[in-house]
Symmetry: C3
């Protein structure tokens, strides 16, 4: 290894307060939208149809919010998580301006906290990452924490400094896209008659369908996001690794589950917050992903009677249907089939 | 299952004369065109090159007609065929205005007929589906019939009412795209010197090449079309199903066969009718698809000397070359290798 | 086989001096760019971001140069190499104007030489192929030679006529894209601080990462390029062939290796020449590709102090890391893990 190949930061390379500008700004296009459709099969009308988006006051169909999420996260990998052993969680994520074809996303991160593990081999790195478009407008601002290896077990480590995250994004902090006005929402084209008023806190919805993952699918997706984490791509190394095979990028599961959730949540048309989330277990090619949702909370939005916010728990499982809403077992551990426990907030049209 | 998850219509839910507006209008883009190219490898110059399309009087390269077909059909699945056990046939399909990148396709269907099966478990549903662009212009108008399960075997069923379909679209009903004028057709760029005059009724053409299907390919395609039929995606369920594995969307085979048909029919540049068609046998990942064509009929078009119509039978096989044009065996059953028997009409340039 | 199916040219069909216009001009789009990103995961900022490209004086992000290469090569296959048994080498390739989304590429070839093999069954065909955009500007001009089967072993063959190729493209013949001026190159966004001055002749760089190939990936790529060589697609035939399986298109390996080379050569942002190249061994689905580079030469460009040229050897291996730079064994044969030995010239920003 000469000095030009980058092998990523190790735990001892990070400092609290450190700012990192990530490489490779990315112009997103209709080509990325089509690939996203081919990879997950989403059917939300606002992302699929420019006339439908225009009927809501938007200039054209915006990209799926999770496509923006994956691109922003992908940029951080080479600097933050190339030497990670686990992606531990997400918090206080806010989506800002929608991303439209032609927009260019850049990303920078700040190290918020560091916590050495007692084993002396690893530590937890807490970062806040902000993605912006070519006009400098925020498109996604979120925190995540990952467990990162030390290069040198003997390296000095800082004292633990663990940031506190709110358990959810406050309603007042949610960003409604510029121009969005829901006047004549066409329920037939959108695929569901159910509006914000029709969902009750505590209500659970089985999304019913399942989708099997192929190696080619998750690698195409992860390369599209320019996410370079090695565990997703290199069978020659992974055959001797922890699982004997490539691990599917966790975000791939979020997108699959969100696309499956169309069946029951077709009108939850815009993600505005990621309150938290955890990849409970790894997934692999050959796994079939199912999903269910629970309405955690509802909030009217200040000054608006056209859209309301739904806070939703999105749970994904592998190789197990969700008719009985699997989540935890009696000892409060996750059901062995659960792979994702994701907490987000979406906008939904109200009755008027 | 609460009331929000949609499980599709069952046989007893349909009524003759019923109109159904399908969800999720779809703006088609250059991204979809590229994916279509990557999935099937078509080489028809009019779809691949905007300057070539312009030389024929078109504003730019239109989408492959079958891409429009798949998107229109895909929209109908959630309402018509989610509980189908078999896709029985197509009839009287007419292509209207070409679809260009940026166009948005919507689709509505009318139930033309219903025929309960004697087993009391299923029935045949006949529908006419019309896809339109954002200006309301027809892009595809076709009929298909599918065998659909009953939810409740004891449910009352209507008397049989079976529509009669013409065996072919009449020449006068064929739509030549607005602006199309074939003056300086460049045979070298198109890849073949053979014009409409060079094809004889009864002539058969072996398209020679074969293409092997992977699970990832057919699932990418079917998600791109937002076709949600479960049998294509869920190995966890299908491993215990009829075939023990996922079934390839029948339209995927039509597109593979049509792309293979470039070799021999490179100048059959525009589909104008689907006279009929039948998916003779299911296909699976690992199958290699071959194809051959027969010229069923030829028709000059009223008032035009630049293009003529060829009615073609397109036969696809699996794991068997088509040098001897396999179709039926002595007892008039399909050869076991045949998977598709498709009858369509295409435009081809004439000599002038 | 009737007269309409094309089975490609055989060795005895070629004549020195023959000109061939290839079929199917291809309009390249943002959709092709996205697929290229999904297939290889390149991160070069100039191709990923239109604002970054604009900062270098370009109208927008150009396509990856190798995408143009694959499309130009793909057009030649049906005429030149459909009956090839081996793709032997490349020489004196020059990239001209960058290709931008919306450009249409056409291609024509000239037969430069022919050399019958002593076995009487095959011969080598040397061609020069030139790809041009819709304005007739050269985008790629390169030579390759392939071993092609004879249709009839008894057919008369011409006397051997073997062209001589320069071992490299002369510096004065390199084309710098119109408008390119590197003033404010943003190293943080580009992903590397290393400039032309920082690379030394003889320096070797291990690109470290590996990428496993799936059947679906290489077939999607090769169809995207409209490359119809049969060995890549037809498992039904190849199961009984030389290797018992489909062979990956050699260009797929070039693109994988080039994308991996970002790690160490992030600022080698523009290919200007292919000096030579050889596919040393075939690759198959399941292989994991690694790569390393050696700086073969450096050249300042006449009249320019903003960019310089680096001549690079790019070596790809399968199922073997490149920390020790594998190339040849003691008897001057290629290391059995080496699959590609490619010699190209790239532009890189200079310090100013």
């Amino acid at each position: 290894m000469n000095g030009k190949t980058q092998t990523g930061n190790f735990f001892e390379d990070f400092q609290v307060g450190q700012n990192i500008v990530h490489a490779t700004p990315r112009t997103l296009t209709e080509g990325d939208v089509s690939l996203y459709t081919a990879l997950y099969g989403p059917r939300f009308a606002v992302n699929a149809s420019s006339p439908f988006a225009a009927s809501l006051g938007l200039p054209r169909a915006p990209l799926d919010d999770l496509l923006a999420f994956h691109v922003v996260l992908g940029k951080t990998v080479a600097d933050i998580s190339l030497n990670a052993v686990a992606n531990l969680g997400y918090a206080v994520g806010r989506f800002g301006e929608p991303v439209y074809p032609g927009d260019t996303i850049s990303c920078a991160s700040t190290v918020l906290g560091l916590k050495p593990n007692k084993d002396g081999m690893t530590g937890v790195v807490y970062v806040r990452s902000v993605g912006r478009n070519q006009r400098g407008e925020m498109v996604l601002d979120y925190c995540r924490w990952v467990m990162v290896r030390k290069r040198d077990p003997a390296a000095a480590v800082p004292e633990a400094r663990v940031p506190e995250f709110a358990s959810r994004v406050a309603t007042d902090d949610l960003v409604v896209p510029t121009g969005l006005t829901v006047r004549d929402y066409d329920s037939a084209l959108a695929g569901s008659p159910h509006r914000w008023e029709d969902y009750q806190v505590g209500e659970r919805i089985d999304h019913f369908d399942g989708m099997t993952i192929e190696e080619s699918d998750h690698m195409l997706a992860t390369r599209l996001y320019q996410n370079t984490a090695r565990v997703h791509f290199n069978q020659h190394v992974e055959k001797d690794g922890r699982f004997g095979r490539r691990i599917v990028y966790g975000g791939h599961i979020i997108s699959l589950a969100r696309s499956l959730s169309f069946n029951g949540l077709a009108n939850a048309f815009k993600l505005v917050a990621i309150n938290g989330g955890r990849h409970v277990a790894p997934t692999f090619a050959g796994d079939t992903i199912y999903a269910w949702s629970e309405v955690l909370d509802k909030a009217a939005l200040p000054g608006r009677d056209d859209v309301g916010a739904l806070r939703l728990r999105l749970v994904a499982t592998k190789d197990r249907g969700c008719a009985d809403f699997p989540l935890k077992t009696e000892d409060d551990r996750y059901d062995p089939a659960v792979v994702l426990d994701f907490d987000y907030t979406a906008l939904m049209p109200r009755r008027r």
